[in-house]
Assembly symmetry: C2
Homo-oligomer: 422 residues x 2
């Protein structure tokens, strides 16, 4: 079988037993294997659909198991990464099938004390089967008219509790402040005190008036997520008909089905929040690497992907964020399937130099909540400070030096610097 017909997955295996044996078990269980030889099981059909172990790379053993209840009497756990190939003929190109066949069942195998999916290489046959992003980075730049620097965005806060007219007042102020992008907090969808329809009605005039006056259309991402895809489409249509161009989608809550349904019918930039994802990745011997998981969502159509940032206020080590940035900007098949990285959480501009140094790019949406709206000089000064921080980062000048001639940045450093978060 030619390699082009294989889906290749890498599993980080932790076990008191043999890593090789566990890899072989994964390959068998997840394709043709059963525990009792069966009459219909012929060598011919095994060859047609069997997964096989391509390689095993050993890692140093560990002294504590990821699943402690599985440890038994063992005091040392063998570790390794096994690459397993699944014939695309056996799986097809359906992502739900791939998730079920090659990933889902693996998490329940006995004898594993830890299991993590660390790599996924899809064959070309997946390329034509999914729409991928409709807008991505180029669409996001075109719609906002921003070139040569990151898009500067902010989030309406507090997360919950503002009524539509209160949100719209804040949006009016933020639009005046010069931001490129504003979003609903991901937790705000359509509660009784702020139905999406009312929010759209209150907010869009602020966006459109500002566009009329200045020619600059701020991208506003409305929280359209809903359990029922039909309802989510009605939400989508409300935004589109009112002249909006973006939506926040909680991908992990709506699932593959919600995302696939929406993307097929969408006219909006789809800004993905991965809310809930952390439980699947926070333990290095359990769950998934983001580089694996994000491929599913990009093929399904995510345009802008929230991936945290440097020195965030929630959990994520900087090096994990840097890997995520690389992941979403690396083609699966070609440039068109890349998502625009959305860098956020506790950002105020102070992390711009390290962000630029690590990723070498300004092709991103830089999201600052408190970093913009809690700037001592108000949101307008906040946007200036963040922009100045990126100018400094790109020119290679230390922030403190650049701040000497840029008072907004100086004030931001005064308020948010020294490890304090925005």
């Amino acid at each position: 079988m030619h390699d082009a017909d294989l889906i290749r997955l890498t599993y980080r295996i932790e076990t008191p037993g043999s890593v090789e044996a566990m890899a072989a078990k994964i390959a068998s269980d997840q394709s043709t294997g059963t525990f009792v030889p069966l009459p219909g099981e012929t060598p011919e059909l095994k060859a047609r659909v069997a997964a096989r172990v391509l390689s095993v790379r050993h890692l140093p053993p560990v002294s504590a198991s990821a699943f402690p209840d599985e440890a038994g009497d063992a005091t040392e756990f063998n570790c390794g990464e096994a690459e397993i190939g699944f014939p695309v003929d056996a799986v097809g190109t359906d992502l739900a099938a791939l998730m079920t066949i090659a990933i889902g069942g693996v998490f329940s195998i006995k004898g594993l004390t830890g299991i993590r999916i660390t790599d996924l290489k899809l064959p070309l046959s997946f390329a034509g089967s999914y729409p991928g992003p409709q807008f991505g980075l180029p669409g996001s730049r075109r719609l906002t008219g921003v070139t040569g620097r990151p898009l500067i965005g902010t989030i309406v806060k507090p997360a919950l509790g503002l009524r539509p007219h209160e949100t719209a007042d804040m949006v009016g102020e933020l639009v005046e402040a010069g931001v490129d992008f504003i979003k609903d907090d991901e937790k705000l969808m359509s509660p009784a005190y702020s139905p999406l329809s009312e929010r759209v009605k209150a907010i869009m005039p602020k966006i459109l008036d500002h566009e009329q006056k200045t020619g600059k259309k701020v991208m506003y991402a409305f929280g359209i997520s809903a359990t029922d895809p039909d309802e989510m489409m009605r939400n989508h249509d409300l935004v589109l008909e009112a002249g909006g161009n973006c939506a926040v989608v909680n991908i992990n809550s709506i699932g593959f089905g919600g995302m696939a349904f929406l993307r097929k019918r969408s006219g909006l930039v789809l800004h993905a929040h991965r809310n809930g994802w952390d439980i699947l990745t926070r333990h290095s011997h359990l769950g998934f690497e983001f580089s694996v998981w994000q491929q599913f969502w990009r093929l399904l159509g995510v345009d802008q992907f929230q991936i945290n940032g440097i020195r965030v206020k929630y959990w994520e080590p900087d090096e994990s964020f840097i890997r995520s940035f690389k992941a979403v900007t690396t083609p699966i098949f070609d440039e068109s399937d890349c998502a625009m990285p959305v860098v956020g959480s506790g950002q105020w501009g102070g992390q711009a130099p390290d962000t630029f140094a690590a990723n070498g790019s300004t092709d991103l949406l830089y999201l600052c909540g408190g970093g913009v709206v809690s700037h001592p000089g108000g949101p307008g000064a906040g946007v200036k400070a963040v922009t100045q921080a990126w100018e400094a980062a790109v020119s290679g000048m230390p922030l403190e030096d650049y701040a000497r001639e840029h008072p907004e940045l100086a004030e931001a450093i005064q308020k948010f610097g020294d490890g304090r978060h925005a």
Copy 2:
């Protein structure tokens, strides 16, 4: 605020710091909280939507953290269960919103070394917002005509690789054997070597012929899962139009959106496989209790819920299975929202006495793969053996005693007994 207006969630918290402080942080972060006081944040709006800690129950501290990379220098980790109430006015009754607001973000909070959602109590306002199961236990009994004992089911094996005519041959044999229920392995959806349309065309005549001859219609669950809800509906329609009445749905792969879309339009019994779920529950200080997670899916419309069994071949302690059995058969609001428990994995009848002793019920679907098809006397003898095992269990007679006059059971004990798995 009256309790009827609260969504109550319980969080098992593990932290080197204060459990109370962490509970307060969850309540704040997941509703109105931000890290910097903001202009729009008034006491009035906080009162309207703020979550609040209702109680904290301390648990013994542990010496190893669930997230080892978060442990720092700590050698002891405080544990406790905090109940937090979320005003339904703030969340609404959308399940994706509930997942996002009350659960998703919690997994990323810093300072936690472990976090698990252990209980969920929904207010009555959710009852009218979701369809719940369309068939459940009564519908499954009515469609199969089986009363007074568990439905006996089996799975076509091997999981992958049989072509439609090969599968149909096996189905013909299983139907003759007297099973009540047959399903595709959850990993079989619609690959090129066995497109669902071909499988339906080959299998349904076997089911319908048998019904013509005997009056007994075997319930066959076809694997209709697909990433794209429109495609899943076409799969659904194929089955329904051919006279089928059941479908396997990989709920964790299709997500809330896929499930909600399907249920609204479904005429089939929806048999849920939770493939992939284990990674969210296998560590007792991480993820979810099944009792929480299953409520979402039952409200969305799961009729039959796979929940493992006693002495299974994959991971799950017996006591966890027993809790799951209780969970799916306990009303959220009333009996109509209960799912039929599907007991499977390594079952052959030998676990019937312990299963009956633990749950006190025969209202279940008992799924045996190898336990039926690999019986030394063939599938017909396998079905008889399993039925006899349940007769013994209900009558309180030891299997070995009952086997004296029931040769099929005796053969099954011979082959599968002593801890060997089917």
